[in-house]
Amino acid sequence: MKHGCMHYGNGKARANAFGLPDAIPVHREPIYTPRPELVAKYPTLPNARQFRMPNVGFDVQKAAVEKGIAKEFPLILTSGRLVEYEGGGEETRSNKWLAELQQDMFIEINPADAAERGITDGAWVWVYGAADTKPRARVKALVTERVGKGVTWCPFHFGGWYQGEDLRAKYPKGADPVVLGESVNTLTTYGFDPVTGMQEPKATLCQVRAA
């Protein structure tokens, strides 16, 4: 209370949490981090067995640093929601009123990053993911200052394309949504919450090139 905190309010984040790996939250660098020099000081949790599955985040983070992933993939890729769509978007992309408002999968990129890569607003680009499988996705560029330099953003509501290939023909007849696009999770990378096992589809690294 001396510090303006209440144990049941804003002080919760500073209180001792029983049963969690970090009793009091500490900083840990992401597995695919844009600041590899910080990993030695702030590593992710050691490998562990979670439920029936191994969580090898520590090894993946170490390998990413050793391979210089942050140099090869200098942009932070984050994913999020659009107001028009819900979840994976299969239902809302099948609604023509909503689909008309967002017709293409896109990546928001800062004007400075776009200029370095010769990318113009609305142009097709290839986004390369940092995973070992070398995934890539063909999306449209939205050059905007909504994102800072070094950061990109994609909506996660699209699906139906895979690495540049339109898979509309594979939908059962009449079941294909009005608009299709690359899924951002083609690009997202390894990482699991140490307690819940929730995967990490929200932030990773990527590289963008004009298509």
Binding site: V83, E84, K96, W97, E100, L101, T144, E145, R146
Partner: protein, 220 residues
């Protein structure tokens, strides 16, 4: 005389496009025609603002001034409407309009783009209210009518007598916005709203149907 206007509070608009969807759904407007859309300026920068735009139903409408077939007319409520029977799809109004209101069912030059379509302030067209002819057909990618006629059904908020009386008495309502006052010191006031907005609590309505009434003290 009162004039009907839509106003959007750009300080509160979050570009959710619900007004666009409600308008398209209500009037069953085909893909590619947007009678209403949300425009964002200073996107991603400090001072970003979004505003919902449709036909502004101008007093001296530029679309009517350039129309070679005189298909535009203004109703007694100050709503600018047009006749799709007369429209030849020349596209002049599209170039004349400063708000991008005129829309066309197809892309092409001159007559090949089809009959112009725009916001009717939910008042339909010159045909009989609520008739099939007014509603129109959507065959072959064309849109020959005006969609549903909410005004004809009494659902669009007309200027209410009591509201006009309040203006005449110079009373200020809680929603009165001094910053929206025009150069002529006219009074803007909130008399209701349309579509989805109608089902929201009053304070959450962003897009308002307003009557534009010249304040009595500035007359003459």
């Amino acid at each position: 005389m009162a004039r009907m206007k839509f106003l959007c509070d750009a300080d509160r608009c979050i570009e959710c496009n619900a007004c666009v969807t409600a308008c398209k759904n209500e009037h069953d407007v085909p893909w590619g025609i947007n009678r209403r859309r949300v425009v964002t300026i200073n996107d991603g920068k400090p001072g970003e603002r979004s505003v919902s735009m449709a036909c502004m139903h101008c007093t001296d409408a530029p679309c009517a001034a350039v129309c070679p077939v005189n298909c535009f007319y203004t109703t007694a409520d100050g709503v600018v409407l047009h006749s799709k029977d007369l429209c030849i799809g020349c596209g002049y109004c599209f170039y004349a309009c400063p708000f991008g209101a005129p829309q066309y069912p197809s892309v092409g030059n001159f007559g090949s783009r089809g009959k112009m379509d725009k916001c009717t302030y939910c008042a339909g067209g010159p045909e009989t209210d609520l008739s099939a002819a007014e509603y129109g057909s959507r065959d072959n990618g064309q849109f020959t009518g005006y969609g549903s006629n909410r005004s004809g059904r009494g659902q669009a908020a007309p200027v209410r007598r009591d509201v006009l009386d309040q203006v005449a008495a110079g009373r200020r309502r809680r929603n009165h916005r001094p910053d929206l006052q025009g150069a002529r010191r006219s009074a803007w006031l909130h008399v209701g709203s349309l579509g989805l907005a109608n089902r929201l609590p009053r304070d959450h309505r962003l897009l308002r149907t307003v009557a534009y009434v010249q304040a009595p003290e500035t007359k003459g």
